[in-house]
Symmetry: D2
Subunit: 331 residues, 4 copies
């Protein structure tokens, strides 16, 4: 039974707490948060202790630390927890600074402790099925991957300000997804974008709509489309053209009801946002982490994966800023 300390009791921390508690093989032992009442409430709900993050990291009875704090604390906490011998699962992104993330990777590698980054979408059954189908040769060699990733509505501008920008905060999931599906990182990245959804986002120097093209060593291509707003809900689709066919992962709808009237043939909307859409993925992610720790296997998503996605976000940002393609090797 893996005893788990959860750092961060915000929205995503609450998601993880429920998953840890429900998973056979793990137990939520302690919860911390800079806002004590949040930690207290969450700890009470799962019969865990409310502790500080330092206490949790120092506690030898805790086997694993799950980091769901604000991004600026991730690297420090990863380093501290691995140095204390913990297995670590940390939410994305590793850091907003690529340099800092790389230093963290170096520090962690010296501890030899396992760290997993929370790219939950890799555990979505449909996306995983696309990767498996490609690996099984069902559509031949990959040629052109498209990722559509639209949020239902933009976050508050206060969040945008500290988010690191669309590429590091939002598209980082999609960069990791291209790595997951393609099995390699691209050579070159070219970004276009604009502020179309909310002028406030533009005023704080960010964009809310973007198209990024990735070119790979052997010529194959990927394109990622992001928008902070889709009036119809969370739009999360993949499409992969291969030599022998096409694989598509479509949206999950709220239910299977179709209503036909004089207005048309109307299906349900996509599930609203990431908690609804990816709850099975969060569960599978955590189960994979627990299994890998228990078996001593490699992490299914490594800290290195987290650093690579961040480097791609950095390259995309530079491409957007300079209006020209940027080689990944140059960031």
């Amino acid at each position: 039974m893996l005893k788990v300390g959860l750092l961060g009791a915000g929205r995503i921390g609450q998601v993880h707490a429920a998953v840890v508690a429900a998973q056979e093989g793990s137990k939520l032992a302690a919860v911390s948060d800079v806002y004590a009442p949040a930690a207290e409430e969450l700890a009470a709900k799962y019969h865990a202790q409310m502790r500080s993050s330092d206490e949790i990291i120092a506690d030898d009875t805790i086997d694993a630390v799950l980091i769901a704090t604000s991004t600026d604390t991730h690297s420090d906490l990863i380093e501290a927890a691995t140095q204390a011998g913990k297995a670590v699962m940390c939410e994305k992104p590793v850091d907003l600074s690529l340099e800092r993330a790389r230093a963290c990777l170096k520090a962690v590698s010296e501890t030899g402790r396992p760290v997993m980054i929370g790219f939950n979408r890799r555990f979505d059954p449909s996306f995983a099925a696309i990767r498996d189908s490609l690996a099984a040769g069902q559509i031949g060699k990959a040629e052109l991957l498209s990722v559509t990733s639209f949020d239902p509505a933009p976050p508050p501008v206060e969040y945008i300000k500290v988010s690191g920008g669309l590429f590091r905060d939002m598209m980082i999931h999609d960069f990791d997804m291209t790595n997951f599906i393609m099995g390699e990182t691209p050579v070159s990245i070219s970004a276009s974008g604009a502020c179309l959804v909310d002028p406030e986002i533009g005023r704080v120097g960010d964009i809310d709509t973007a198209v990024v093209t990735l070119s790979y060593a052997d010529g194959k291509l990927a394109v990622i489309k992001n928008s902070r707003r889709a009036a119809y809900g969370y739009d999360q689709r993949l499409e992969l053209l291969g030599a022998d066919g096409l694989l598509q992962a479509q949206n999950m709808l709220e239910n299977t009801v179709v209503k036909s009237t004089g207005q048309g043939v109307i299906s349900a909307k996509p599930t609203y946002f990431f908690i609804e859409r990816y709850m099975p993925a969060y569960k599978a992610e955590w189960a994979a982490f627990v299994a890998a720790v228990q078996e001593g296997d490699d992490m299914p998503v490594s800290l290195q994966d987290g650093v690579q996605a961040l480097a791609m976000a950095e390259a995309a940002q530079r491409s957007f800023d300079s209006s020209k393609p940027v080689r990944l090797a140059d960031v």
Copy 2:
């Protein structure tokens, strides 16, 4: 070049005129109608002659007669035309009287002339693909066939009065469809129905909604659902369960556009009614008639097929009237 005389210049006659004129291998030579201006206008449009039906049947330069007149004239015209040596294509149903239809079949068989009944749906590419798929063994042995056949809106009550009732007028298409797909007629027919759409229809003694179950010699089953009204358009679907799978023919939609908004994911409606939905089928039907006449082949839908469908309608009517199943052999 098959020279064709068209009897009847109403709505369905106009459809056929356009098809005959556009088909390589046939030419619209003459048109008749009890209402002369209709015949005149249609004849003018296709550079054909306006004639009486007697004149058309008597004209030795006419090779084939296409009967699109009111149902009560079908049997007489089929007999007259075949006795005059014509090949005949006649709209469904053969007759409202099963006895008269059987007499007509006998009379025609003595002439040896080919007669085709206009069960246009057999020529719908999707329904034909289901039959072909079954024949190719793709779903194993047929077990349970479902036919959904809803009109977009009921016809005027004046039409209902002389229509012969829902089973002979509307469901006759679906009876023929079950014969087409199953390749045999059922042993027993059980009908339920009601007047739910328009009380006027009930007042003239007819129903507008019905469910009919067909049982076959080897135990397999079919069910036909009819309604005179579907608010969303013409609903024409088939579904066949076999030992190894299911075949479904879905509705054709007006276009392929999908609109996703806060209201849901909205596709276009089904094509509105039979002319829109079955125009390709009308063309294929006529092409098949022309080819069969020219090659001397058996008609793809025979007069016998028309009589069988009528017998099934008769059995359904008796079942509905008596509230018990009726054996087809008993009508």
Copy 3:
């Protein structure tokens, strides 16, 4: 916290045990089974006690009894548990004997204790959405309901022998679904059926394929199609035609991946069987039971509902046996 005793540790008992244990507000306290090792294993998994059913019913610390034993024990256990003051949730069907089920209903009503029957499909989000949409007037007045309910594969013949037959064992779910959607029971029932899937099923006197038509007091209609085999998985669909439109609940697919190749456009199969398809429904069912017990509300599915569905199965069986429609009032 509702303390629950589970009677029956077979397949469906195991499903319920997991649901009871995961539900906030209920706790699995005890498990019984005629085969002790099964009870022991299940009890151990959820830190519950292994007891006899008599002990569980007699235990004053147990608040509710969940009956998942073989059908022939249901009525006795329902009576015993309610007489002991328990709230009861019992799997369908109430009994194979309509007479015995009615006696049970009478006995229970004298205790005043709440009994819920496990028609889990009422809690399927899509079926519930259809009922809600109808109630909200979105398709006008109901006219014609179709229920498609095919199992992926037939059960062992040993099970068939004691099942009470297709109508009482399998279609009973669909009878309840028509009651749920229509909000009333039909006046008359007409059944057709055959043994097409497995001759062994015929040898023990049962059928495996059936079509049943239901007629309602105001003329509206319903048709239920059952097969014990669908090569492509569990096929569970509803379709309701109303005056202003059509509502359909489609199958849930295993994932959202679509593969397009030279062979066609290929989607995933429907989820395999009832555990996969209806797990969310089992959870919602149990949550509704717990809430109703705690609030003292009426059961969302009553014992009366269970008896009505059984009466419809009885009527269908008689209709099938006699080859004529049977009035529900006559059974």
Copy 4:
């Protein structure tokens, strides 16, 4: 009745001949081709004359010239025909040389004669419905347009050699489509591409797979994906994200049959190639041309439209060659 001279009796010329002949209001009067037997055969089929292109252009009884010859002759023929007073419909592209096309535009404008360029896809009912829906405000302001355009299989390398390259030959349709939907041309174009399908294509200096991003003055974005091969057929889809929703035009399938077996749920493939997919669009295109000529209205697709699409292809080619975005104003 518009008397039409068709220049070019190849594959697309044959498509147009059938359309011209079937259209009320136009008549195929003459056909020319550099390969006389092709012109002869086509002329005979439609009872037209076989003539040289010079003769057709010089014939005062010819009202309109339809140019379906090889691309290198388009500009000269457009100029000659308009100078001879004809209305002209010309296949895309106007020319491979942007300079030549611009000179042609200037020359034509001096004649005042109407010229339409054959961007047939504008007349596809689903694409047109997307434009109409956007114009009607159904999804708010346009933000992000995606065009997926994959051919089923690459053309012979001999064709590729003289095609002008993927951007001018294939993607030019998609450039026009973005202009049609967006109602304006982009400011900047960024192209990525590779030879992935057929190494022979690379050997003659072309690519077969490309992603092009378009940026507009107000920030909105479009992305075009092209591949010369889709194993499952002709893939022609549009997707437009707006402030209030998403519009998608999906592929047309060969029929509406869905087959569910142990292998999955299998729909028909997309219609194979442009003739199957766009036949209704070719008919609507020609009808629009005839109507515009007869009414003296502006051409629904102008020569200016053709030049703009060519300029975008030129910009894309330069972007691909230089690996950086190119401003449309700079070509």
